[in-house]
């Protein structure tokens, strides 16, 4: 029942969970923009926090912190690695 090694959308991850980006599925413009901002396959990503009422999700990639809408998070697919970051639990 562990989520390990299964691909899920970033929007389905829990706050504080870590993962590796496996794919970004969107229009060319979105993929390019996300790649340039630091989200591309192979990168380690931490879902840091999310706003109420399906608000934006804030993630961390390296030292970059990005906030993205749910619709975008639906298009980013990741493989969670079962680790959580004690610093990034969303309180």
């Amino acid at each position: 029942m562990s989520m390990e090694n299964t691909v899920v959308a970033l929007s389905k991850m829990k706050d504080g969970q870590r993962a590796t980006v496996s794919a970004v599925e969107g229009g060319r413009g979105l993929v390019e923009k996300l790649t340039a901002m630091g989200i591309r396959p192979g990168k380690r990503i931490t879902r840091f926090c999310s706003m109420y009422l399906r608000g934006p999700i804030t993630v961390r990639v390296d030292n970059v912190q990005l906030s993205l809408g749910r619709g975008i998070a639906d298009k980013i697919f990741v493989i969670p690695d079962g680790l959580t970051d004690e610093n990034t639990a969303c309180r």
């Binding site: 413009g29 390019e32 923009k33 996300l34 790649t35 340039a36 901002m37 630091g38 591309r40 840091f48 926090c49 999310s50 706003m51 109420y52 009422l53 399906r54 608000g55 934006p56 804030t58 390296d62 030292n63 970059v64 912190q65 990005l66 906030s67 993205l68 809408g69 749910r70 619709g71 975008i72 610093n87 990034t88 969303c90 309180r91």
Partner: protein, 569 residues
């Protein structure tokens, strides 16, 4: 020689620009609003060089206005200083590799070098220089560290003109470079970072956002009041009043000259607010009433911009803004609008879709009063009690929400989702913050004061020849019947087209009741934009959309004014 600064958003280009040129240029912290560019001059090896700050972009190939502008500007440069954020080396190198493919000499400024050490990143400078083949100079733009070496290295810039690579090839190359030059050591979260994180977490973040809003409002309000009471008012009453009184006595024989320079006397006394002369009201309104609030507002705004808080606010408010057909970033132009609607309209360029921009601009024009208008509202309405001022703001907020919801349903088009980078908090050097404040204050003085100086005698003349009296008879049914204002108040609505503050000042001699002041303030804010906002709206949205926006404004202004008139205030 033309030197271009190029780099990712948040790499510190604008601060570096300030360091190199020492020039007074606004460098807004949030990416995108500076789609135009700033240029200045510096000395390189005893020669004068022009420095041009290009918009921050992640890649030259990405779509969007900023990349387009950056690509175009590359053609005009002789040398590029590529500003790279040392804490985000891997990502920032993508733009560097793109730039190295251009036929132009490059120097890399490895900026935010101090933070890289703090977050546990070690970069082998010699190896990086070798692998890139261009000089790499570590800098800390905010403190000025390394700037001297950067300037000295400009003549050593190298043109690589690498063969154009594909996206994959560039990322592979970056992987190789990072593997060789960068070491990251694990490090625990500091208290400062935990506090910084709290501002994007839902619960503490919302709380902090409210606190910030209250603090900013209180600071602008009481700070402005303090400057008025302790600086502006004494200067006008103790120093300027004797001068204009003397002029008044000298010109008392020449009625026309006296009317233009000094204006009317009340019991033989000059009233700075109501005399309506060139040397009295035309100077008193902008310098004594408005300027104090311009100073406090732009000081607070500068602090919010430069520390990097605003993008966090955009995250907090994103869900709310989507109800109005915009994403959270639209809050930034909206806040700018409380200073002046003109830069606010231009700042809506950061919003991607036409729908968003139309809604944002219309809402700013309808429900966001500029600092000049607010200063007069505070001065005039505040005399009757702060509850009336609160009533005006509450009405504007309700209108903002209702019109926002309606426009979201009615305007065709799409609302893109939020996608922004949240840069770490930074403390700007005081000198830079003060320079930025001065540019904005100077902007107010050179743009607003001349208009007042022209408007006051012109309005005076129009009164003398009886133009307003002629209009009054036409408009009385609306102004008096619908809005419950004295028919003379129509002059204010016309004058508002030129200066909102002058319009409010025109209301001063009318002896309006508190309720009438509330109605007229709200109508002035909502009814029609001033000519400067109108011009920029025309340029930004085109004539057809502008016509629609104006209809919305006029209808809403009159409706809300009439409704307020019916309320038992």
């Amino acid at each position: 020689m033309k030197i271009l600064l190029a780099g990712n958003p948040g790499a510190g280009k604008s601060v570096l620009f300030n360091r190199l040129t020492g020039s007074l240029v606004t460098s807004d912290n949030f990416p995108g609003t500076a789609i135009g560019f700033s240029s200045g001059h510096m000395r390189v090896a005893n020669d004068s060089a022009e420095v041009i700050d290009t918009p921050g972009v992640y890649s030259l190939e990405s779509s969007g206005q900023a990349s387009e502008v950056a690509r175009k500007m590359l053609r005009y440069g002789d040398i590029i200083i590529n500003v790279v954020n040392a804490t985000n080396l891997e990502r920032d190198l993508y733009l560097t590799l793109e730039l190295l493919e251009e036929r132009i000499p490059i120097v890399v400024a490895l900026n935010i070098w101090d933070d890289a050490r703090h977050v546990g990143i070690e970069i082998d400078l010699t190896a990086l220089e070798q692998m890139l083949g261009v000089p790499v100079i570590p800098t800390v733009a905010t403190t000025g560290e390394g700037i001297k070496y950067l300037v000295e290295s400009i003549p050593r810039a190298v043109m690589r003109a690498n063969p154009a690579g594909t996206r994959e090839e560039r990322w592979v190359r970056i992987g190789q470079i990072i593997g060789q030059v960068q070491k990251v050591t694990h490090r625990h979260h500091t208290l400062g970072e935990s506090l910084a994180d709290a501002t994007v977490r839902p619960l503490p973040g919302t709380f902090i956002a409210l606190l910030v809003a209250i603090a900013v409002f209180a600071f602008v309000l009481y700070g402005g009041e303090a400057i008025f009471n302790f600086v502006a008012q004494p200067i006008f009453n103790k120093l300027w009043l004797p001068v204009v009184s003397a002029i008044s006595n000298l010109t008392s024989g020449a009625t026309f000259l006296h009317d233009i320079l000094i204006g009317r006397l009340f019991n033989g006394q000059i009233d700075f607010m109501e005399s309506w002369g060139l040397l009295t009201t035309a100077l008193y309104v902008p310098f004594a009433l408005v300027l104090p609030y311009i100073i406090t507002f732009y000081f607070a705004l500068g602090l919010l911009e430069d520390t990097g808080y605003l993008p966090r606010l955009a995250v907090m408010i994103d869900t709310v803004m989507h109800r109005f057909g915009m994403h959270g970033y639209a809050i930034i132009p909206t806040i700018l609008g409380f200073g002046c609607n003109v830069p606010a309209m231009m700042a809506t360029r950061v919003l991607e879709s036409r729908k968003e921009r139309f809604i944002a601009m219309t809402l700013i024009a309808i429900a966001v009063p500029c600092a000049s208008l607010q200063a007069l509202i505070l001065g005039l309405v505040g005399q009757h009690g702060i509850q009336y001022v609160a009533m005006i703001y509450a009405t504007l907020l309700v209108v903002w929400v209702i019109i926002g919801i309606i426009l979201n349903r009615a305007v065709k088009g799409f609302t893109p989702e939020l996608l922004i980078e949240i840069h770490p908090y930074r403390l700007m050097p005081w000198k830079l913050m003060m320079e930025k404040l001065w540019i904005r204050v100077r902007g107010f003085i050179v743009e607003a004061v001349p208009v007042m100086i022209i408007a006051v005698p012109v309005i005076n003349l129009l009164y003398m020849i009886g133009v307003f009296q002629a209009i009054t008879s036409f408009t009385a049914p609306v102004v008096s019947g619908l809005l419950g204002l004295p028919s003379d108040a129509v002059a204010a609505i016309f004058v508002a087209f030129f200066r909102m503050d002058a319009a409010m000042a025109l209301l001063a001699p009318l002896e309006l009741s508190a309720k009438q002041l509330v109605v007229s303030s709200v109508v002035l804010v909502m009814f029609f934009p001033c000519i400067a906002s109108l011009a920029v709206m025309f340029r930004e949205m085109g004539s057809w959309s502008l016509l629609k926006a104006l209809c919305i404004m006029i209808v809403t202004g009159l409706t809300v004014g009439a409704l307020l008139n019916l309320l038992p205030i």
